[in-house]
Symmetry: C2
Subunit: 441 residues, 2 copies
């Protein structure tokens, strides 16, 4: 049986999965990466696709190209639905694939606090499709407002609610306010887009919970200075197609975007391993599953609490990359016969800092003990994100777009793709005399 | 009644509609442009989106931005369904909008020779959505082939049929062959993408029917040298999900792309005006509809036969722009009280030449009496297309992408968006021993 090379399957082409595949370079094994998409997405810039600054392809790279230089790694487009841990097989739509080692990096999805019916109303931001859907809805809202005769409906079309005050929520809120106040004003006749309301709801006591207190404070100030309404300690109790309910207040709003909870990929449940409250797999010090040394879980799907810290590592790109690299390294060493030493070395996360953009020239950056804000943090953010973007050519494209955005406040990817139907209650003709206004629908 | 300013409606934001709106600049009228999309698409480069060279936003511009500098022109996102010529109203989904002048530039759609059931199987190339759908199918075909164990199905996945040998068909065929032979070869393990078959079917006796004979000949030679199979005088009699039938030959093929006939937008029928065989509106010398001097039809939807020529002008960007400009000008003059002179001046098309790209460094260009081919024509083509692209920033983006494509043979927009399910008949595991191959689905 052991005459053949061991098979290592990596499930997921996000930061964790790619890092694992790269760490397996040179291993004496057949390595395959399975993902249901053909492309890796650079998630930290997804909000810029949602707000029409960048094109989807600018922040994506075909997984095949990305791993082209990586030895014997195969890439398989497949929808993984579970794991048969006894048979050591990954279950895909078309059948199953055997493994000797498994690195599960299947990530997380949105969690609507058990209110799954909100999903259709309040899209979240995890995939390219999510981003273009948010972009579509945001752009359509301004078009609706332009031709809406009913004052309350027009107000609702010009109101955007964002639920969740982590980095994604903060970045989305800032960017939408920016496009409304800087890019669009000259293009509409009947509405003043600078009056658009952007409301950011956060259930906890402060924004950017993972950042130091002072940075949270600064983010709040900056957002409010830009005109974003921030509601802290605000628990959303209902999300409807025309309103959002917070406490005893009902706010008319056409668009709600979701940046709050996450829950684990359902694949996690099929492992039969202990899960945390969000359904993530609790992993050991070597990132493997208890009693299943051949299965590693990395990235957002893993719940890893460093010794001495009472808190699991956050679901961010840096953690994912380091976990993937560690797990891939352990497997490579074990295959090479140096497993004991590799297993004994616990995973240690090296926090290189956190960043969040708030608006043009405004960001928050925490590097070690140092906290930065304003233009300095914004420049740091831009450099780091361009540097980590996959692909030299995309780096140039993104830089070019950022220069355009910075100089002209442009958002050139303002493309409504898919259904472009206005949600107008009382349509107003294109500025003609009221007597000739078209009849309401 | 005549105390108010006249209302001019332009239906369609393509080349013809935009040119009409621009020509109406400064007219003492309320001008509105209606389109069901928020963006103008630079159609001549659509095939590059379909073949993953450019991103959708690179060749699109929000109609609002495009017309921002154009005086009193309003932009309305609305789906026009017809015209009530007696009441002088344009019918939209939400009601109707009155006009004093109407410029109809609603374009054409694909025509499947009456076989509408082929539409789902063989997508055409008119919109951004069409282009990303063709891109999705093309990329999925290579992924399917990579994991297809059945030889005939693998062959079919690696075969692309294009129906229609006009510029779109020629450009699509050349680009698909290019991506298969230059960009993809290093990325697949189990297949040799250079063996992909691209078959171009043309019903007539030569390619590029609108071009001089010699250019058609050269296009044929160039395509065949690149490895594209060209079948002239080949009438497709059936299009199935797994094959295409031509004469008594059935060719196994997973993907068929449609670049053959067009038919007029159904709005044309509601005018009650004479139509040509393709349903296009036959217009008079001033581009207005017979007996309806207030209605102009321009662009692909118009059938205009210049005096002395026995042939209607082709549906290309240049004709559309010149028609739109002419119609807008006549209306502007008439509103200014100089209608008689403007109406008396018949529309005259100035042919500035035609071009079609075949592949890297290969194109066909006809300028007046001169015919160019090869690298010279290709350079001309690139310059002209960048120059006419809407928006300075998109020009830079497209040039940058073309430099990348030229130097590295890159196609960076290789993004499968939407359903990414393989069509595999006999799935093969990711290169492992046959004994452990996953069971067929």
């Amino acid at each position: 049986m052991r005459s053949r090379r061991p098979i290592v399957l990596v499930v997921g082409g996000g930061f964790a999965g790619l890092a694992a595949a790269r760490a397996l370079r040179g291993a004496d094994a057949d390595v395959a990466l399975l993902d249901r998409q053909n492309h890796h997405v650079f998630q930290p810039l997804l909000y810029q696709v949602a707000t029409a600054s960048l094109s989807p392809a600018n922040i994506s790279a075909p997984i095949r190209s990305t791993l082209r230089g990586v030895g014997a790694c195969q890439v398989v487009l497949a929808n993984v639905v579970g794991v048969d841990v006894e048979a050591k097989r990954v279950l895909v739509d078309e059948g199953s694939v055997p493994y000797d080692y498994l690195v599960l990096a299947a990530g997380v999805r949105h969690d609507y606090f058990g209110r799954d019916e909100w999903a259709g109303v309040a899209p979240g931001l995890k995939t390219i499709e999510d981003a273009t859907e948010i972009r579509r809805r945001m752009l359509l809202a301004f078009e609706s407002a332009e031709h809406e005769g009913d004052a309350a409906s027009r107000r609702a079309a010009l109101t955007f609610a964002i639920v969740g005050g982590g980095p994604t929520g903060v970045e989305l809120a800032g960017a939408i306010k920016g496009i409304a106040s800087k890019t669009l004003p000259k293009e509409y006749r009947n509405i003043d887009t600078t009056t658009a309301r952007v409301i950011l709801f956060e259930g906890g006591p402060r924004l950017l919970g993972g950042f130091p207190e002072a940075s949270s404070q600064r983010a709040l100030q900056d957002l409010e200075r830009m005109g974003v309404e921030v509601r802290l300690g605000a628990l959303v109790s209902d999300v409807r197609t025309d309103a959002v309910v917070v406490g005893d207040e009902t706010i008319g709003v056409q668009n709600v975007f979701w940046a709050a909870g996450v829950k684990a990929s359902p694949i996690a449940e099929t492992l039969g391993a202990p899960l945390d409250r969000a359904g993530r797999v609790i992993v050991g010090e070597d990132l493997s599953v208890p009693d299943r040394p051949e299965i590693f879980v990395v990235g957002d799907l893993a719940s890893f609490t460093p010794e001495g810290s009472g808190r699991a590592l956050p679901g961010v790109a840096q953690v994912a990359m380091q976990m993937g690299k560690h797990a891939g390294g352990v497997i490579r060493e074990e295959i090479a016969g140096r497993g004991a030493a590799a297993r004994a070395r616990a995973f240690r996360y090296r926090d290189r800092g956190s960043m969040a953009v708030i608006g043009k020239n405004r960001a928050i950056a925490v590097l070690g003990e140092k906290e930065f804000s304003g233009f300095v943090a914004w420049s740091l953010w831009a450099c780091v994100h361009v540097a980590f973007l996959v692909g030299f050519r995309n780096r140039l494209r993104v830089m070019l777009s950022w220069v355009f955005n910075w100089v002209w406040n442009s958002h050139d990817a303002r493309l409504i793709v898919g259904e472009a139907k206005l949600r107008v209650r009382q349509p107003e003709g294109p500025g003609f005399e009221p007597a000739e206004r078209p009849p309401g629908s």
